[in-house]
Structures are given as structure tokens and as C-alpha cells.
Symmetry: C2
């Protein structure tokens, strides 16, 4: 519905479609909550059969499945629905790449509330109703993040482990800042039996990372430092510091302050690995990385999706000699590798 109008003549369809786009978020979230995709994967393919399995009204399921078909998440042949390739991979609970948990975080009541106040945020130039500057604990939000967003990390965690040389198996001290679910550090520990991980985050968030470390069988090589990345004793002599999805929450001086602490914690020749949404210098491409700025406007005091030249300058100010940019294959994010 958000695609350019098919007709050559100007049409109000796109305006109409985008004003109604909140409906597509709700529809996908509802389908995930009800387990529609999983039920179809298990073999139910007509509205009445699906409805029976998910304990919903046939009329409701029929209309929802038609809508999901219109939006490319299902196909429909006569009155039978089937999964698309993407839905089978990402929306079926039995799939290893299942990312349905993201709905709880991305389309949460709190995030929708932030966007309900977007006009006030644009006037103010920062979040009108949000949690402040993100340097103080906000356990509920970040525990939810840690519990739901791990599926999105599979590809980028593998990419980062490779950049960190995990497969070489050398002794390696890794600091994972604002670790959240902990999956980036845990993934290095899984690939490198000689890696030791230190995870920093608020205590209730680290509890999730502890569970994940135990599930991955690396709990004995992951230690935890509860607290703020700006205040906790980070330790020192690290080979690698991971900074995944953290800088975008802050203004430039705060990012520089953090990166100076990282610089101090690294051993000479150590590397900082940053995972971020990095738009091009035009700030409007590529679409997902560039659009991330609006989320930071609505939800932080002064965060942003920074360009590579902005990061380069910040990291240089913090003492790093060289930063290079590495796109993560098939993902909207990029990795910045900075050398001390």
C-alpha cells in the first residue's frame, strides 16, 4: 500500500495507504500473536481449519488472512492459504530464523505511544514522552528488547564473530557493552573456546544474557558487570569491545565520552566493533538505515542514525587511529571496525 501509485496520473491512493499503514503493523502483530503462520505451516490451510486451531472466529481469520495475502505474507489459491518463502523462514515458530518475537518490542504499546506524540517530538526536537536520555536504567524496555530481539542478531553476530577472528581460536578478552540478550559476545564464545566475555548492562537485562549464555553452553566463560556503560568499572586489557546498537541513543558528545572509555579499556592494537544503522551521507538512503533516525527522534532525547563520516570523526576524537565500514550481508545494519 505504501508503494508508488500504479497509475501514471497522480492518485490519492498513496496518501490513503500510508495514513492507514498502522493497520498493517497491527495485522502482522495479530497474526504472529495468534500463530497464524505456524498453524498454516502445520498443515491447516482454509479459514475454518485455521480458525479452529488458533481459537478464533472464521470470519476474523478469513479477513485477516486475505489482508496478509494482499500484503505479501501469504498466498491464496481458491480458498486455501499458503506461506510465502519469507513467512516460512521468519514467521513460523518452528523455524530456526523465527523473528515473531520482534512484534512485542517493535510494535509495543510504549513505542506506539511515542509515535502518537510525534508532532510534539518534532516541535521539541526529541522524545516528547519517552524514557529520557537512555543513560539511566529503564529495565522494562531493555528486558523486553533482550527477550524479543535476539532473532534479528543471527546474521550480524556471525559476521561480527568472523571480524573478531573467533575461528582462529586465540586467547581473547571481549567486552560486550550494553550487551542486552548477550548474543554477540555469546556467539564469539561459542566459536572460540579461548574467548572470555565480559557483559555490561543493567542487572535485570543481564539476567536474560545469563540465561542465553547457559543455553549456549558458554556460561563459564561469560562474566557480568551490572551497571551503566558510562559509570561501571569496565575493566581493561580487552582485545575486542563490542558496541552493538548503542550509539544511536545518544548525542555526539555522549558517544565520544563512551568511546573514550572504550579506548581506555582496550589493549594497544585492540579493536572496537560497532553495529549500527548507518545511512549514506544524503541521510535518505538506504531506506531502513535512514528511516531509523525517526525512531530515535520519537524515543530519545538526542539520538540519531549517524553517517559514517560522523562516526569516523567521533571515534577519531576518542583516540582511534582508523575506522572502516563493513556492510552485513542481507541485513540493514553495518559494522564499523575501529583500531586503537
Amino acid at each position: 500500500m505504501a508503494a508508488p501509485s500504479q497509475s501514471q496520473r497522480p492518485s490519492p491512493e498513496r496518501v490513503f495507504g500510508v495514513l492507514n499503514a498502522f493497520q498493517s503493523s497491527a495485522a502482522l502483530k495479530t497474526a504472529i500473536e495468534l500463530g497464524i503462520f505456524t498453524t498454516i505451516a502445520e498443515g491447516a490451510d482454509r479459514a475454518n481449519a485455521i480458525a479452529q486451531r488458533v481459537n478464533a472466529a472464521e470470519r476474523g481469520v478469513r479477513i485477516l488472512c486475505d489482508y496478509l495475502t494482499i500484503h505479501g505474507f501469504l498466498t491464496k489459491t481458491e480458498d486455501r492459504y499458503a506461506l510465502t518463502q519469507e513467512s516460512a523462514i521468519f514467521l513460523n515458530r518452528h523455524s530456526l530464523a523465527y523473528m515473531g518475537t520482534l512484534a512485542d518490542f517493535l510494535a509495543s504499546e510504549a513505542h506506539k505511544r511515542d509515535f502518537d506524540a510525534l508532532t510534539a517530538s518534532v516541535r521539541k526536537g526529541g522524545a516528547a514522552v519517552a524514557q529520557g536520555d537512555n543513560t539511566k536504567p529503564n529495565d522494562e524496555l531493555w528486558v523486553s528488547f533482550a527477550r524479543t530481539m535476539a532473532p534479528l542478531t543471527t546474521v550480524s553476530a556471525g559476521f561480527i564473530a568472523e571480524l573478531a577472528g573467533a575461528k582462529e581460536g586465540k586467547g581473547c578478552k571481549v567486552l560486550d557493552i550494553a550487551a542486552g540478550h548477550g548474543m554477540f559476545g555469546i556467539n564469539i564464545a561459542k566459536q572460540n573456546p579461548n574467548a572470555q566475555i565480559t557483559a555490561v548492562d543493567w542487572a535485570p537485562v543481564l539476567a536474560v544474557a545469563m540465561e542465553n549464555a547457559a543455553a549456549a553452553g558458554v556460561a563459564d566463560r561469560v562474566s557480568f558487570r551490572p551497571g551503566s556503560a558510562f559509570e561501571a568499572d569496565l575493566g581493561n586489557d580487552y582485545d575486542i569491545v563490542l558496541l552493538t546498537n548503542i550509539f544511536h541513543h545518544f548525542d555526539v558528545p555522549t558517544c565520544e565520552t563512551l568511546m573514550r572509555r572504550v579506548h581506555a579499556a582496550l589493549k594497544p592494537g585492540g579493536k572496537a566493533i560497532t553495529l549500527e544503522f548507518v545511512p549514506n551521507e544524503d541521510r535518505v538512503t538506504p531506506p531502513m538505515a535512514a528511516a531509523f533516525s525517526l525512531i530515535m527522534l520519537a524515543e530519545t532525547d538526542a539520538g540519531d542514525a549517524y553517517t559514517f563520516s560522523q562516526y569516523e570523526k567521533m571515534f577519531e576524537s576518542a583516540g582511534f587511529v582508523k575506522t572502516t565500514l563493513h556492510p552485513v550481508p542481507d541485513m540493514p545494519q553495518q559494522v564499523l571496525l575501529s583500531e586503537k
Copy 2:
């Protein structure tokens, strides 16, 4: 963001994009509220100049305008923004086809609340938190509809006036059921000096139609019958009865009941003209008409976007001898013409 992934390989981008799609509704509504498009039309083209004119923060305006560019509502060259053709026509307040008022209705708090409860609606098979069956007054909602949605009627009102033979100028009694803003009847009255219009709707809604009739200079030929289309005395001997955007609110028996009342009110040879979202028999094309079903699931007890064969059957049951389908050029809706 809702477009199919560019990459050949399956990517989580589409799931991510649709879960975040509520942000695009909020961004467009905010831009309309702040008058961003109008301000650019008036000559401001950099974030700081626009911000000054709309009384907002430069940072907020810069991020919002970048987002609008990503979604195709603006273009950006260096740091200067410009309107697209569609934005110039539909989103600039000075344009005759301005449809910014739609934001207040389509993306209203009430409608967003309905979609926040979509999972419950799918389970129930009808609105979980809405206004009931729409045969009882719900003044606030429908006054808002009447005040905001008129811009969307320009093309279809012209098309309907032509089908009604307004330009021939013959004496013609027209009944406009659930008239709302009244623009469909008013447009016939403007084109045919011998047309007499009777508008039926709840009294507070008719107050909006009265204003519009006066503004169009046809107030002396529009009379008003406040009340429910199901209970008010509709009068009789009409040449034309207009039924615009009404059937989709009701279940099939209720639609038939209404159409029988219409049949009784028409003179022999008279015509009922219905404007509706009419999906194809597959119920998943064309996208906008088919997607309208979900709105009816979320907001009514038993409404739907009915197919042509469903309408044909209902109208035949109500006594009409023949119904034909007429697509409205460049619009997502269609007109059904039924002969008594």
C-alpha cells in the same frame, strides 16, 4: 518499506518494515498537522527555514523531512527539500485537491485503538472495542467523518453526478442516505438546477451537510431528514437514491433490509447508486478495496467489503431487476447502478 525485499535471498526487512509501518502513518499525520508540505509549497526548502515557519525544532524537521523523502512524499537535493507531484496536489493546503484533513479521521485515536485490539476482534469475528452495529447514532465519529473526508469525494461525486444524468438538467428527486458531508447530493444539485435533494443522517452530521450546501449555493434545494436510514420516514417517488459508503458497515440481512426501504422509496424506473469498496471474487485484489475488509472487522460488528456477486444477490433480493458495476477512474472505489 512494505515493498517486497530487493534482494533475491529471503530477508527479514519486510517483516521489520511492516511491524514498524505504524511509524509512517504517524510521520505523515505529523507532517500534515505541522503544515510541512504547505510550507515547502510556499518556498521554504531547508530544514532550518521550514522549522522556523512551522514553529518546530530544526532537528525534528530535518529527521521528519528525511523520512518523508524515504517514503516518497518529498525529494531531497543536497539539503533542499521539494514536493513530489502527488504531495503538491494532495498535501498542500492551497491545493484544491488537498486531502490532509483525512489524517484526522483515518489515523484518529479511536481508529488506532480499534486496531490495538485487533487480536480480540479476530477472535470474536467483529469489533472488540467499537461503536456497535452502526445503526445507532455515533455522532462524534460521523461528524468527524463529514468534516474531514469530503476531499476524497471530488472524483467520485463527479462520476456519480454524470451517471445520474445531472447535466441533462431534468427535474429530478434525489434521496441521499447517510449523507455525511452531503457532497454527493450537493454535487448533483450544482450541476442540475432542477434537482431536489433530500439528505438523511443523524442531526449533528446533517449540520455539516447544511454548511456545505450553503457554501455550494444550493441550500434552497437541499432538505434534511434527521434520523436513522433504517427508521426515518424516507419519503417516496425518488428518481435517484444515493448509498455512498454505507453497506460495508452491516451484515447481509441488514443491507437487504435497507435496500428494500430504498426500493420502496424509488419511483418505477428509478435508480439506486451505490459507492463502495468492491473487491474481486478472490477477495485479495485490487489491494485497497480488498484491504478495506480489515477495517470493517476492526470497527464494526459484522460489516465487510462485499464482492459484486454478493451485492448483486442482496439487491436482487430487495427487488431490483438489474445491477451493473462501474469503476471510478483513478479511485479505489466502484459504483453499482441498480434499476427498480
